[in-house]
Symmetry: C2
């Protein structure tokens, strides 16, 4: 192999429902990919084995000799220790203190590096998406929950205990609605898909009319997809518009806090809810944020939609692998 | 002058009521100081001249030849541009776009460097106070308002537009009480001395009993000093205890947001309210913060009272001068 041959890594996005693997070039080009259903809550061994198999399949599909893939980067949920390669807690997967790095290095015989998925998503957007060239950038991903990642001085910020970036758990409404984390009034409890669905369900139970109940049975509403929410929103369904505007206002308050606090150059908004609702949602958030921010703080700040969609975490995980390889 | 002679700087803390100047050694030792009343809202020329005179008097009092004082560092309110040396807005002083650096360099014939006062306070505590040796530290100063400063990787964090650190303007209660900044529900509107006084005044107007009305006339309550608040609190006055606990809870929610977001090693609490109430207030804040923070995020975090009291801004301003001199 020539000294200057292109280096490749495998990247993995381990989600609650699907496991995505790819072979990625240093310029972010995806050579090949493989996808499988995540065996969540069936023990960590099965989930880790699924990762390993997805990586192997992606490498096979790339047509590259396995030795050309120099490392594996994995984006996955939960507070984790990126140096030790251990996931501390991941409630969605049912994990506690899982040694991902050690287990998969033994299995795949390559260096394995892990990163929190929202952090990886922010890093992906920074290197290959909306935030290229920006020094201070925040990534906020509004989906079932709300995750975030902080880029300072062009690098992912981890903090003292390496668990920084929990933007979804900033408190924007003391004594507000209960959050999945056990606390009250977190941004996630007010502006995530689950919060939107909760507000819709409550309003429907109180007799509010909405086309949503024609689009699906009220009982199934808890599992409504962001795309259906977006359809009702864009059709101008009054209840949906009201509830989503409310969520966007809370999200804007969270962004305002972040701007007043960290004064970044750019805020990138991604995740299922933002993708489905598009620029409309981003505009609502930006307008709400502007109202609650000092004029000097808002000067020159850009609040923009994410560009990489489903690939943000995957490409961020690839960046982690390339960076750690050195 | 010998090459290795100690270098000195002059440091200034420009407050809304008093202007404090000192000659400071690199180890934080204050050689001499001079104090004057700040001529606030009487035009920037008079305030800047007061700074110049205080610096000259402090130098005289130090007994050092003026040439041994190599620069002047100034901590002062308002969003400002530390590189250009311009204060953008300082409502308390009535300033808009004041060229502090240029004006005082011409007047004092020494390099002049400026820094936001809360940033300077955080820097002072980091170098010479509670946060020595800590890599990620937040300084929160609860007084008439709430100011903050962020130390990351051992250095003051400024952000893209150089106006980061406005911890008092994180929104902890969307649609909450009106803040001086024009917004609603900022931490400052819920946990500052002004917020505490507002809550007390409202309760008294509603007929609530308190020893405060025996300590001073209700009309003068708006100007109550933190020391009197502390006296009523420590005497167990029910209303005062309730209102201060409420403020501490909001402050704790703000600290929790900061911990979840930035995962620092230490939070230093200072300012008039904290100094007057002492460890009691710090404990209340820490307990409230712990309740709203992930266990892994709280691990090893220290929430402590400031050490430098009135000298935090002054010594931070000295650090700015030494740092910028190189």
């Amino acid at each position: 192999m020539a000294q200057n041959a292109t280096r490749y890594v495998a990247a993995v996005d381990l989600g609650g429902t699907k496991t995505l693997a790819a072979v990625v070039a240093p310029d972010g080009h995806v050579i090949a990919r493989h996808k499988a259903r995540t065996p969540a809550r069936q023990g960590e061994e099965r989930a880790l084995e699924t990762i390993a198999v997805c990586v192997e399949r992606a490498i096979e599909a790339s047509g590259l000799p396995a030795r050309r893939i120099e490392a594996v980067g994995i984006g996955l949920p939960g507070p984790l220790d990126p140096d030790a390669g251990i996931v501390k807690i991941a409630p969605n997967l049912g994990w506690v203190n899982v040694p991902v790095k050690e287990t998969l290095e033994a299995r795949l015989r390559k260096p394995v590096f892990i990163e929190n998925d929202a952090n990886a998503g922010a890093l992906g957007e920074h290197r290959f998406g909306a935030g290229v060239g920006v020094s201070e950038m925040l990534g906020i991903f509004v989906g079932t929950g709300i995750g975030g990642g902080i880029i300072l001085d062009g690098r992912l910020y981890h903090g003292f205990g390496k668990v920084a970036g929990e933007i979804g758990h900033m408190i924007v409404q003391v004594k507000g609605p209960k959050c999945g984390c056990g606390n009250r009034g977190c941004l996630e409890a007010l502006a995530s898909r689950l919060a939107i669905v909760r507000d819709l369900t409550e309003a429907i139970a109180e007799g509010r009319k909405t086309i949503l109940t024609k689009m699906m049975s009220a009982k199934k509403l808890h599992a409504i997809r962001s795309s259906l929410l977006a359809e009702a929103f864009h059709k101008g369904d009054k209840l949906t518009v009201k509830v989503i505007k409310r969520a966007a206002n809370f999200c804007g308050a969270g962004v305002a806090s972040l701007l007043n606090l960290l004064n970044p150059e750019m805020v990138v908004l991604g995740g299922g809810v933002v993708e489905a609702l598009g620029e409309d949602f981003v505009d609502l958030v930006a307008r709400a944020a502007r109202k609650c921010t000092f004029e000097v703080t808002f000067e020159g700040v850009r609040i923009v939609p994410a560009k990489l969609k489903d690939d943000a975490v995957l490409l961020g995980a690839a960046c982690v692998a390339f960076d750690r390889l050195g």
